[in-house]
Symmetry: C2
Amino acid sequence: MNYSLKVQKALKKIKIGDKIRIIKNNKEYIGILMPRSELGDLDSIVLKLSNGYNIGIKYEKGVKIEKIGKIKKIKKQKIEIKKNSNLPTISIISTGGTIVSKVDYETGGVKALESVDELLSNIPELQSIANFRFVQPVNKMSEDMEYTDWQKIAKAVAKELNLGNAVIVTHGTDTMHYTATALSFMLKNLSKPVVLVGSQRSSDRGSSDAFMNLICATYAALSDIGEVVICMHGTINDDYCVLNRGTRVLKMHKTRRDTFFGDYPLAKVYPNGRIEILNNYNIKKQGKVIVDTKYEPKVALVIAYPNSDPDILNYYLKKGYKGIIIEGTGMGHVPTNVKNYWIKTIKTISKKIPIVIVSQAFYGRINTNVYSNLRILFNETNAIPGEDMLPHVALLKLGFILGHTKKLDEIKKEMLKEIVKEISERSEI
Amino acid sequence: MNYSLKVQKALKKIKIGDKIRIIKNNKEYIGILMPRSELGDLDSIVLKLSNGYNIGIKYEKGVKIEKIGKIKKIKKQKIEIKKNSNLPTISIISTGGTIVSKVDYETGGVKALESVDELLSNIPELQSIANFRFVQPVNKMSEDMEYTDWQKIAKAVAKELNLGNAVIVTHGTDTMHYTATALSFMLKNLSKPVVLVGSQRSSDRGSSDAFMNLICATYAALSDIGEVVICMHGTINDDYCVLNRGTRVLKMHKTRRDTFFGDYPLAKVYPNGRIEILNNYNIKKQGKVIVDTKYEPKVALVIAYPNSDPDILNYYLKKGYKGIIIEGTGMGHVPTNVKNYWIKTIKTISKKIPIVIVSQAFYGRINTNVYSNLRILFNETNAIPGEDMLPHVALLKLGFILGHTKKLDEIKKEMLKEIVKEISERSEI
């Protein structure tokens, strides 16, 4: 117990994991006693509420604490895993994150699930759909993912696919769309879908989306799609999951289960296995999957907004960055008022390293023509219009291209070319 | 005519504004001949197509050009404007942008409409709703707006409201949500709604949203709302406009007419004047409007993403910035892997200037507790959780607060306090 002596005294015989009632200033708090957070106040008692969230209650004179029960430890049935040679094999490529995590009552944190046994004892019905294999190239919360992790995951996926297995990549949701984009560029000639799946609420919570997402991902992994997709809740209810194209999807909400929103959803997947096609997709290919993980990490994403200073571009150039994505406004505008003359700076920098213009207005296409400021930006400088790429997609594409060439004209040509549907076809001139 | 001699020769008697056909490589292009773009290729002939967009066609040997007509100049009926003393007065506060622009066939650009006459000759029906007055504190495309423009607009709005007039602010759409946020903070005790309106397509185009948006804005300006709102198309059709709260709305699409999306829409306004309430709003107040435009422009918005380097925070500190907003991932995460140790840098910098954490997952609330990395970020450093504020809203709020105090503890207190509904009430603990 890592609380202050004062708190320890007040807790008496109450142990971590006990259900307790705290009364402070006439307010009642009921929850499971958790360990103090690593760097939290020594006097702050951490309670896990029934909604899954933790709160800290500062212990003071007059605060009453009472034990009202023990947490019921649900004994998971030990499942005997049988291999069924009639069923396909799916490799679960686990990378960490909330999806299959369980609350660790010793540290108060969440831990990634660590084996197929644990997965199948949570969702026994999966055994009737496929055999499962467990691979863990990375174990990180998704906010900590780096390009080296994308490379490891890409290699693990290619290896499993080339063994003939289908794959599901379990991943934290925060940067799942970054990883989906990286895998889209790093994997070629996909012989099966690459399905990323996660959950917004950990599997110990009643409202967890982990189980349905995993079930849908399993069906998705066995479909004929030859693309990298994200499989997550399509609504706030447990209706169906949506498979969003890996290069056309964003995490829009911090807590909602239907947080991922894409403008090119490929299909709905119902938990009973039914798949409803929404848009055209690439069909899986014959032959070996090719993995190409070359990546230049020195690429920066910069926002241009009122009163922003374009000197930030000089900063990145001096730091040795090899390319910059600018999130402008609307159709690709940057401020052109004299004091903060972005275009002048872009003109200088874009002679040395590639600068790609995308927009804070995420959807729709950059226009190089309709307003005079856009004509100046794209005619007078070497700025590359980001077409209708999402900012993080343009960032990773630039890193991927820079991993292969440093020649400005080649980079421009490649950036404007659709590689994995990250740019959609033009519907108007 | 500013084309090359070669092009001028080929154009012969064709004049700017003539309708022409160009045949190049067996492809036909029909449109209005426009002047060359200021910095464009001397040989590139600019055509305005019927869809309103300009294209450039490089003149080469073999290209055929033919005049097929003259642009019909629609003679606008000269409207006699009568003042009706039974009707309220609305001040049109014009700031530039596409809303009331017309294509200038001499320059190829768009010009802001410059008088009430021009407005009413486009939409004569407005005369039966109100008398109009024209004020132009600023005339800029919205990508060029600076905080000094917000100050001018705020003062102009307060002046008109305190004269007893209702107000409509016409504004380019690119940064309309920034200006709406700035006005929300700079204007207090609103005696009438402040309605910002714009258009995604200029009024010379068939699909222009300018007219309906202006009509709806007129009705909105006469409503009992006491907030700053954005009035734009609610769907891709001409069904209705939506009034979104000024501090809870984003421009999401580059070209769609229903580009503005907010999570707290206040009302629908139909072009026949019907107003359908969607959410609670502040009712307009008695008394004088108070304007307070103090603003510190040295605030920066930074994105944290995989492989991003927190040294950017040191850069802004050295440049004399007074506060930084970080767009993290998910519930407010920043990368915590060793190489790019954001939290360590935030710890140092947040002792000197305020650092506020918001998220790329725009909607929902920052959480300071649910994951251990969040507990470290918000317990071990002075980072301020941005609650459920949108990134640009947090940015402008910080600039506004810094305009009034430089004391860290006061800034933190103010940032966490709801001022103009930019933070929504918690629905859960």
